[in-house]
Assembly symmetry: C2
């Protein structure tokens, strides 16, 4: 709904400014709501959010997860039940204290995550080994009173995610759930054309209350990484304080082992915009684009009827292929204006049709990734359109893959150099001590993101920081 078109800054010149401008001008969201860390999802952003939600929910449902919706508020006494958990969240929960003019008997927090909402009920619901594995999820907004600088979609006080909460018999079963989650995550990210790295976080960087935290990172164009999802093996950390037991075949009551899987929809949307976009605006992967194809008719007064007739016919044919297509028949806007607007909004494929094309029995395709124009025979339109959309997905993934750099380094100096010159991840031998991780943070402003989940990478040399014997290979990156 902004009148001024076009971006004023190049992505390579000032990524941060470009990112904010593209979000606002392409109508993904509006950050002028006036409350720190809260943004408005505009129609494009709302569509993306819902479509991404559908993609990940499909994966969850296929693996036997069922959807529920829990209340947005959690009573203070629930939040306090697991000691590490409350310690991790007490500084960043929003408190509801009053209803109308009356003080509430008990403070309620807006859910920052929902372990302490779900698990009192798991204690009621779970009885028998026949109910395991037990898998629920909800797709909701969560709330954290971030004190750091906020950035739309990347660090907000309200963000949208899907959180799955499971209960299994054993710790190993919970580990297997992490593997299943990875499959769901990988499939979803693949249709968004986004590559990621899954690391098991070091001890000092685990989720508050988890035995193990595995986390999904993407690399943004400025070389910094963004955590967009996590799976936590909670072991019995929550089942003990919340008294969640099942009865085994011998009638013995046993604590369940649990996992939490968080899919950061808002952050994934941020990554999608940041990674695929260019100096002309958004570039949306066909799988999630609200409009996959726009048809722009080009005509004069004499040729209008004929061109519009053909444009209408083409619209019908493409809709018949279940594509999301718009025919931009606005009067009083030039084709050039329309081209710019749809480029800004990231529509993957544009079809132009004018009187000369009519005569030649052709149409002109322009793909948003390369902005290449090609004339094709009109009769091959459907086939070609589907092929180009596929190819755009492939090319976006290829470009994004190039951002996910992994550079080896042997010393702290090399590590810093790699981070500055290349960004992404740096791969080092590491002693495993938090003190060395702190030194990396101080000297290079980077974090140890952990070891790759499900891949053995034994270290043979010395720790890149302290020079003592290394026990593992870890990935280091600067992060949001």
């Amino acid at each position: 709904m902004s009148e001024e078109m076009g971006l004023t800054v190049k992505k390579a010149d000032d990524f941060s400014k470009w990112y904010l401008e593209v979000l606002q001008k392409s109508e993904v969201l509006d950050e002028r709501y006036g409350v720190k860390g809260f943004v408005i999802y505009m129609p494009t952003g709302t569509f993306l959010l819902r479509r991404m939600q559908d993609i990940f929910e499909e994966g969850l449902q296929k693996t036997g997860h069922k959807a529920v919706i829990f209340p947005v508020v959690i009573p203070e006494k629930n939040l306090n039940k697991e000691a590490e958990h409350i310690k991790g969240f007490e500084d960043e929960v929003f408190w509801v204290t009053h209803g109308g003019k009356h003080k509430l008997e008990e403070r309620l927090c807006l859910r920052p995550t929902s372990e302490t909402a779900f698990y009192p009920m798991y204690s009621v619901w779970l009885r028998s080994h026949t109910q395991l594995p037990f898998k629920l999820y909800q797709a909701v907004s969560v709330y954290r009173a971030e004190t750091k600088m906020t950035k739309p979609l990347i660090r907000g006080r309200e963000f949208f995610w899907i959180e799955a909460h499971t209960a299994q018999k054993t710790f190993d079963d919970a580990d297997k759930q992490v593997e299943e989650d990875m499959g769901i995550f990988e499939k979803g990210l693949s249709s968004l054309c986004l590559p990621f790295l899954l690391c098991q976080r070091p001890e000092w960087d685990k989720f508050a209350g988890a035995e193990k935290t595995s986390a999904y990172d993407v690399v943004l164009p400025d070389g910094k990484v963004l955590q967009i999802g996590t799976t936590h093996n909670l072991g019995e950390k929550f089942s003990k304080p919340f008294d969640i037991k099942y009865m085994d075949q011998n009638g013995k009551k046993i604590y369940v082992n649990q996992t939490t899987f968080g899919i950061g929809i808002s952050r994934i949307m941020g990554a999608l915009v940041a990674i695929h976009g260019d100096d002309k605006g958004l570039i949306l992967p066909p799988a999630v684009a609200p409009t996959q194809i726009v048809i722009v008719p080009i005509y004069t007064a004499e040729t209008k009827t004929k061109v519009m007739e053909k444009a209408g016919e083409i619209l019908g044919r493409l809709e018949g292929k279940n594509l999301r297509v718009i025919l931009d028949d606005r009067e009083g806007k030039t084709p050039g204006f329309k081209f710019h607007e749809w480029e800004l909004k990231g529509v993957p494929l544009r079809i132009e049709i004018g009187p000369r094309d009519l005569e030649k029995g052709q149409v002109v395709l322009t793909r948003r990734d390369f902005l290449e124009r090609t004339s094709i025979a009109e009769e091959k339109l459907e086939e070609q359109a589907l092929e180009v959309l596929d190819s755009i997905g492939f090319q976006l993934k290829k470009r994004a893959d190039a951002l996910l750099k992994i550079t080896p380094a042997k010393t702290l100096k090399e590590l810093k150099k790699a981070l500055e010159e290349k960004g992404g991840f740096v791969h080092i031998d590491f002693c495993g001590n938090e003190s060395c991780a702190k030194k990396i943070k101080e000297d290079a402003g980077a974090e140890v993101r952990g070891t790759i989940v499900g891949k053995k990478e034994p270290a043979k040399g010395e720790c890149a920081v302290c020079g003592k014997k290394a026990v593992q290979k870890v990935y280091v990156a600067r992060s949001y």
Copy 2:
């Protein structure tokens, strides 16, 4: 997830108790969360909510409304801008006062409705007459600190709705929006098999800040009515304090006229459960049932392979017709147990198949509304299944229509008698004065719901309460 099956109370004996029991046992929701007025939507409830949301969103999108998502919090200063509005809501908003251990600079309320969230942005976004009509909506939860007794889905402190907010040039244009809304509402309710009455509310019962309020009521089995939706013509009541203007063709700046349309998804779900269910449990209209058809195979050890093979084939055939079908192949549960469970959960159609059916080339259909069993030729299965599902929708609507009683009355005594004996609406001549409405409330515990929207019903006689000259015919009902 409850182990105890079957309802312990009959709908006609104790509607209120039956309602709570059916919600819990059929796993629509769980009200044991432990915070007054906040419930958990279980898998069936979550499916119903989403499906109903889809149905109404389709209607909104077809009429040019676009989806957005606004923050859940509204700053106190926004809420205070329209005087009547804040007066209407100040006693029932939840206040967020702290982030972590810090007091917020400004209190934020959880949206009780979102006029004061949307309209500051409308003032930013709206510039020109070419943008009108301007139509946005969001499907979200809203929050009200109800002090009255809460009842799941019917009166809660957190409920789900869709709210559309529009801007038009004139007051008449806004009235036309009310008509469009009615079309959307009617179409949605029709696929849920629910009849309703749309009344323009009397002056003293308008939405806080509206010029006119039109509201959609259904009649529940206890004869009381439930408001499940509203459209408000706000006129310039909000555009003035929020400074929302457009420039007309002559360059003149003019305040827009606005409407708010609220579709009470939670309440509609409550009505759906309450109106269609019976002593065996839920009865779900096929359009929204998570499972439309359940196949129950009946076999012995010898006949199992053959029966299961056929059952699997039938499952595939019905899924091929885009139906939501489950094959209940659980071992260790008797067919009788399965029948009861799926009846409790309201699955519209059950298909039984046993060895004798196999021999005869038939299957047995049992429809959930009449619990009638019919054998049909297996080759006609798809055709018959679709026909029965249609017929169930039709019969549910017919039953519901019978609840929506409208009884004429000439005196307060007749009015009370009609309310007690028949319930639903009572149709009276009315003087139009609030004092008479108060008398109806005191003597009969009922409210004047208003006049029918878009239908002229001039009154010729005397007011049923005071005997003075009547100016209108109104509908009176006891309400939730």
